[in-house]
Symmetry: C2
Subunit: 261 residues, 2 copies
Amino acid sequence: MSSKGRSPLILTALERIPLVQQGNDLAEILLHTLKDNKIDLIDGDVLVIAQKIISKAEGRKIDLNTITPSKRAEDLGEETGKDPREVELILRESTEVLRVRPGLIIVEHHRGFVCANAGIDHSNVPAEGGRDQDFVLLLPENPDKSAQELRRKVEEAEGVQIGVVINDSHGRAWRNGTVGISIGFSGLPGIVDLRGKPDLFDYQLRITQIAAVDELAGAASLLMGQADEGLPVVHVRGFPYPLRDGSFQELPREHSKDLFR
Amino acid sequence: MSSKGRSPLILTALERIPLVQQGNDLAEILLHTLKDNKIDLIDGDVLVIAQKIISKAEGRKIDLNTITPSKRAEDLGEETGKDPREVELILRESTEVLRVRPGLIIVEHHRGFVCANAGIDHSNVPAEGGRDQDFVLLLPENPDKSAQELRRKVEEAEGVQIGVVINDSHGRAWRNGTVGISIGFSGLPGIVDLRGKPDLFDYQLRITQIAAVDELAGAASLLMGQADEGLPVVHVRGFPYPLRDGSFQELPREHSKDLFR
């Protein structure tokens, strides 16, 4: 990676992305917006996309008035002070509840990542008939697949080989603040494995699996800034590792190696 | 942040940084290397620096033959299969042991972050008399202070206002691979607090504290790549938030809010 690592990494948030609605063809929107931003994709570029616009395009906006909470959701709603209908959705989106506190349910999402409230989002869900707080937005059903489809369409239209990352903002166990991480991606490595490479002094490297996709997701998140919908797509040039097939399934730590469950 | 957020974020790994040794004046090395790389600092730039070269300059390389392990270190050494002298250093650098497994001691470092093996590093510690594996490198004693001193010297020499971030690669509780995070910094926000700002639809944002310094540390880490000493400094232009005083003390989660200790 020596020569590639010395190229600059350039991240550009795309401007003038229209508000995304259910059923929109996101690939079309991306292609149009890239042109509007005078960005010509080249091989090795990566597009990082906020989960929110994927979820909206895929119709993951849910009217809580259509949800009937289970007994367990009612109980957890009482324990946490959260709307039992929202708790019901959190439980449906999850495989395991790790911790419960007022306002907070930490789960393993069915896609394999641990996060607060199954990533279900209240903000930026447009009002409809003045009942905006009754709507929530679930994460995309299968972010890897969403990334793969977007990538295929953009690659076919532009004749390039790129990566697509879907990111979200998650908290961490021991640190304040959220960082952008990936919840699904296609066309680039999730983990870059440098095990076995000698370092400068021929001592075998030990910490040698780099979560490159998460580092990139966080970098893009810096430019997306607050969770608004204004800057949900970031174009990346100079990702320093070779593109390859990749899947979120590289990321979740095996339960047998998880010390904090 | 709207207008600033639309500027590209450009990260450039500096080339031709000499190997750093104890007692080196890192600010001098940085200033020289920036010139050699034809980078003129401007207000708002940030330098991200791998902890390893800070530690080396500060003489944090320890000969394990000078360390006498305590009884507790002997016991933990047996339990983990780690060198009891290294365990002794891990314990001295820490305030609390959270988890112990073969090869792994997860601690709260005395600077307030949770990490594996107190961040003590075996790799890239140059051999001396063929006993290279007897040397380890501790993290800088006070990374915030190291960052502050570097920042002051560079700012005075160049007449600019910049940020300085010291980064390291850490694992995460539930995800494979390491990501770059900050262990100390100066001159930029650790957490950017967007609480209270309405989002696009005037719904109050809820997840609104962004660990901007960690997102930047991870972005730079992508270019530093493997843990070698070849690319330990990354120049950042276009950090999208206003610079201000900042300290690592913004980052550690209060113990009372920690659900995973």
